[in-house]
Structures are given as structure tokens and as C-alpha cells.
């Protein structure tokens, strides 16, 4: 069966009812294992001490914050091109999850920054572009809320998501340029990417990343179902009003 057949809201509800239990169990299992392993089962970093344990929340959240936006971008494109309602509603459903992930990344980062850099916040390019991402999320959600007609809202937010993505990338480069001279290679010893992280830290981190990813998918599935039901209720009510 092609993925397009799930574009029908009813089919989607059926599918999501089937996969959701699995998703929820798996995601909670991964997150719980990863976090418990990370929190109780890993040693302290020789330079960062216990604060390194924050990584198990910070990095997966940051990752999902970006991926959620990316998913919204894809869903918006699908809506604009093939006009599948489920995909528009999935984008709508993903946005609040994305914001929460962004906020978690920002907050854990801030808490981590206090002992490591001696400040809650620095205008480091990475942090700054995250803040901009947060603003894009806010604007996107506000626009969904403000437009009454659901299809028009989907159209407008989709274009915003597209244009916003271009500008988000542009901002990322702008910010890097802007703060390049002042940014003293923020003391993030393990931030060089990939496997530069010690294995001890790496395995639980991977578990957490997978867990956050699954949790995101589960939440989006569930929330999309909610949006579909609300939309259907509104449609039924509207028809009833018309017949009367």
C-alpha cells in the first residue's frame, strides 16, 4: 500500500490506532532506559564533572527540535502539492511538540552553561540560531491560531514554513558570521560530533536519541488524530447547522 492511501483521515486513524501502542511502549522504554543508564550508570567527565549527564536530555531534545521543523517542512510541501489533509494537520500537530523540544534544549543548555561558561546564556551562534528557531515556531503556531478557515490556515502556514526555512538557514549563516570573532570556541569538549564522545557516554545517548525520536512520532500520531477528530466534529456540526 502506498503511503498516500493513509492520507485519508479515516485510514490514518485506523493505522495510528494500530501502531500507537507499540510506539508509546517503545519510546517510553527507550527514553527510560537511556536516561536511567545515563543518570545512574555513567561516570563523571573528567572536566565537566557530573554536568555531563545533562547531555542525555540536551542533545536529543535539540536534535528533535530541528527534526520536528524539518518534518513540518516536508508535511507542508505535501499539503501544498497534493493537498492531503492529514499532512497539513500533522504539521499543525508537530509544532507544539517542536516548541517543547526547543524549550527543553534551551533550558538544559542554560542550566549547563551556568557551571561550564559561568553564564546562563551567551550569544553563541548555535544557541542564537536555536532562539531564532523558537521564534519561527511561535510565529507558525500563532498563525495557525489566528486564521479561521482551516484550509486557508494550512495554506498560509505551509508557505510560512517554506519561506521560514529559507530564512532560518540564512540566519544560521548570518549568526555565525556575526559572532565569529567573539566566540571563543565554547568549551564543549565532546561537541565535535559523531563518535568523539566516549563510548561510555555514547550508548545511553543513542538510546535517548532514539527514544526522543519515537516519542516525537508517537506524540505526532496521537495529536494528528486529535486534530482530525476536532475537524470532523466541526464539519459534522457545520453540516447540521446548514441543514437546519
Amino acid at each position: 500500500m502506498s503511503i498516500w492511501s493513509y492520507a485519508n483521515p479515516v485510514k490514518f486513524l485506523t493505522l495510528s490506532a494500530r501502531v500507537q501502542p507499540v510506539l508509546w511502549v517503545l519510546s517510553l522504554a527507550f527514553v527510560a532506559t537511556g536516561l536511567i543508564w545515563g543518570f545512574f550508570g555513567t561516570p563523571e567527565d573528567y572536566r565537566q564533572g557530573a554536568t555531563v549527564k545533562i547531555i542525555y536530555l540536551h542533545v536529543p531534545a535539540a536534535l528533535m527540535a530541528i527534526n520536528a521543523w524539518f518534518m513540518m517542512l516536508v508535511a507542508s510541501l505535501i499539503w501544498l502539492i497534493r493537498r492531503h489533509h492529514v499532512s497539513a494537520l500533522a504539521a499543525k500537530a508537530a509544532a507544539p511538540v517542536g516548541v517543547v523540544m526547543t524549550v527543553i534544549a534551551l533550558l538544559t543548555g542554560a542550566i549547563w552553561g551556568q557551571p561550564m561558561w559561568g553564564t546562563w546564556w551567551a550569544w553563541d551562534p548555535r544557541l542564537t540560531s536555536f532562539l531564532i528557531l523558537f521564534l519561527f515556531y511561535l510565529g507558525y503556531i500563532a498563525l495557525w491560531e489566528a486564521v479561521e478557515d482551516p484550509d486557508t490556515a494550512a495554506d498560509l502556514t505551509s508557505v510560512l514554513c517554506l519561506v521560514g526555512s529559507v530564512f532560518a538557514v540564512l540566519s544560521r549563516y548570518a549568526v555565525q558570521f556575526w559572532n565569529q570573532g567573539l566566540h571563543q570556541g565554547t568549551s564543549v569538549p565532546v561537541a565535535t560530533g559523531g563518535r568523539s564522545v566516549d563510548d561510555v557516554f555514547f550508548y545511553p545517548l543513542v538510546l535517548c536519541m532514539i527514544g526522543f525520536g519515537l516519542l516525537f512520532i508517537a506524540l505526532v500520531f496521537y495529536r494528528t488524530g486529535t486534530e482530525i477528530r476536532l475537524r470532523r466534529a466541526a464539519a459534522l456540526r457545520a453540516r447540521a447547522g446548514r441543514a437546519a
Binding site: V100, L107, P115, A233
Partner: protein, 52 residues
């Protein structure tokens, strides 16, 4: 059981607390909204006599 967090206990614990709290709020809010939506839909279906 509790690992020794040294001088960074507050930071690490508050980071975990804040994140887990936010996640919990997100999940609970999502579930509550979902349940409300189910109820709304059922009411609408009953009112309009449609169950397809």
C-alpha cells in the same frame, strides 16, 4: 543508589526536573486534549446521527 553528583548536583537535578516536567506536561496536555476531542466528536456524531 543515588549517584554522587558532586558540586553540580543542583544543576543536573534541576535540568532533569525541568525537562521531565515539560515532557510530562506535553504528554498529559496532549492526552487530555485528545480525550476531549474524542468526546466532542462523539457528541457531534450523536447530534447529527452519523457514525460512518
Amino acid at each position: 543508589m543515588m549517584p554522587e553528583l558532586g558540586k553540580y548536583a543542583t544543576e543536573v537535578l534541576s535540568a532533569y526536573a525541568v525537562s521531565l516536567l515539560l515532557l510530562a506536561v506535553l504528554v498529559l496536555w496532549t492526552l487530555r486534549r485528545g480525550r476531549a476531542a474524542r468526546a466532542t466528536l462523539e457528541a457531534a456524531e450523536r447530534e447529527t446521527g452519523r457514525h460512518d
